[in-house]
Symmetry: C2
Subunit: 252 residues, 2 copies
DNA sequence: TTAAAATATTGATCCAGATCAATAAAAACT
DNA sequence: AGTTTTTATTGATCTGGATCAATATTTTAA
């Protein structure tokens, strides 16, 4: 509490130990002293604005980013102009872990709304992880979670129909907002219908029609970007409904 | 070279330093001394046979597995009996990284053909990674690569048509076999058509028809599980062909 | 060796969701 | 305020690949 270290007002605004997200973010599980050490390697910049790039495909990898406020989308472009949205990233989430192996970014990170991020320089982070076992532990956990998240998306894209995809997407946002202390049932979408469709492997028209239908069915209320989830149970029901793709593979 | 340590014949057969895969696997980038330390925590078991499980969904996470010989599939089951194959794993590849965060396995690993694996107990590995920075480095790299691989699958499932999916799959196998010193153009599929279809988000009938068509077009020769790739360039052409999904999102 | 079960192939039909098209409504410029 | 551009909605049509169905082949069991 009464640390003797001199901190400026500016530092106070941004330090991990004063950040409400630290229990979700990289500092999770670190003790006070170690958080301070981590803090010292982190670069904070002024807020980024809509359509800014945090990094682009092919950029040299400098470090991973933690979202503080706002939201980010990551996507991969193909030469023919088609994109694949890989994810939407909310406060407390980490971006850029896929670039560690190759040393350059394999996707582009674009700002969806005014957003503040922390840049954690990777080389320093790796050195510090050797010195702070709990930091290494947390890095392994974060990367492991990322792998699990992507596996879940593979199921979504490989096996689920349009209804299930959108319902799962909305519930995911709901849960993540809730974890962050926001309403689980009322929020604004920072991404367009097009981006949602792209992420979910659906055409924009399909997304639009689904929103309309879900609203007609009383499951939610949608007006432009504003969403109100009226029946979470119904949404959950949609997520794991139809038994399609009954492949008995080798049930041995 | 002339290490004074006493090793039994059995040890010799299996130690990382005598394993031809070490340049692909966990020991990559470690010096001789560190490989020996890593070796000491690794458990080797007798070969597993077709349809054995390495671990099942929900099992307590003990450690990660490195495939030595043979092949493994990982998949997630749903209560309704439908599965999603997450991957096929060849020698030198690591399985189980997704379980680090939760402490229990989120997918099942099933043996496709007689297979030898190394089990690397996770707690010991984490401790050792603090002591051996190059091991921590390699772990970060491996996990990062896993994230990249899964991103690539997301594109495949989200945006590519059936032809592109199968062509990409075959080329991936080709490259991975080549890296491991096997033929890039002739190999046996250890998985069924059903499993391929499941992995690629296609019906088994579609996979079967594609094999037939690719053969008719002179791109490959297929007989049951045996594949001969006759025209790698044609396959590559199929992988990045059609410009579908021309979404101009926000081209800002 | 034969029987039963699993796996693969091929053909016919169907449908969820893509694509095409038109309009409406916001947002961004001027 | 008006004009252009982007984004969203709704309807009509089309199609890639799923599903259904029948048969053939291979593997496993007995």
């Amino acid at each position: 509490m009464t640390k003797p270290t001199v901190v400026t007002l500016n530092d106070l605004k941004v330090a991990c130990e004063n950040c409400s997200l630290s229990r979700l973010c990289l500092p999770m599980g670190l003790d006070e002293k170690d958080v301070t050490r981590l803090d010292q390697i982190i670069n904070r910049t002024k807020p980024h604005h809509r359509n800014d790039y945090l990094f682009r495909e092919g950029d040299t990898f400098k470090g991973i980013y933690a979202v503080k406020t706002g939201s980010i989308k990551t996507y991969i472009s193909r030469e023919d102009g088609s994109d694949q949205v890989l994810g939407f990233h909310l406060p407390g989430e980490i971006i850029g872990l896929d670039a560690i192996e190759t040393g350059s970014h394999g996707c582009t990170a674009k700002v969806l709304e005014t957003t503040a991020v922390c840049l954690i320089p990777y080389e320093k982070l790796e050195k510090l992880s050797v010195e702070i076992p709990s930091l290494q532990h947390q890095m392994f956990r974060l990367m492991s979670r990322e792998i699990t998240n992507e596996s879940n998306m593979l199921i979504l894209l490989g096996k689920r129909n349009a209804d299930e995809r959108l319902a799962t997407f909305l519930l995911s946002l709901s849960q993540r907002y809730k974890q962050r202390g926001f309403s689980a049932t009322e929020f604004n979408l920072s991404m367009s219908r097009n981006e949602i469709g792209n992420y979910l492997g659906l055409a924009v028209e399909t997304v639009s029609r689904l929103f309309t239908r879900f609203q007609d069915e009383g499951i939610l209320k949608v007006e432009r970007k504003h969403i109100e989830l009226l029946d979470l149970e119904a949404l959950k029901g949609i997520c794991d409904s139809s038994p399609r793709q009954n492949n008995h593979q080798n049930s041995a």
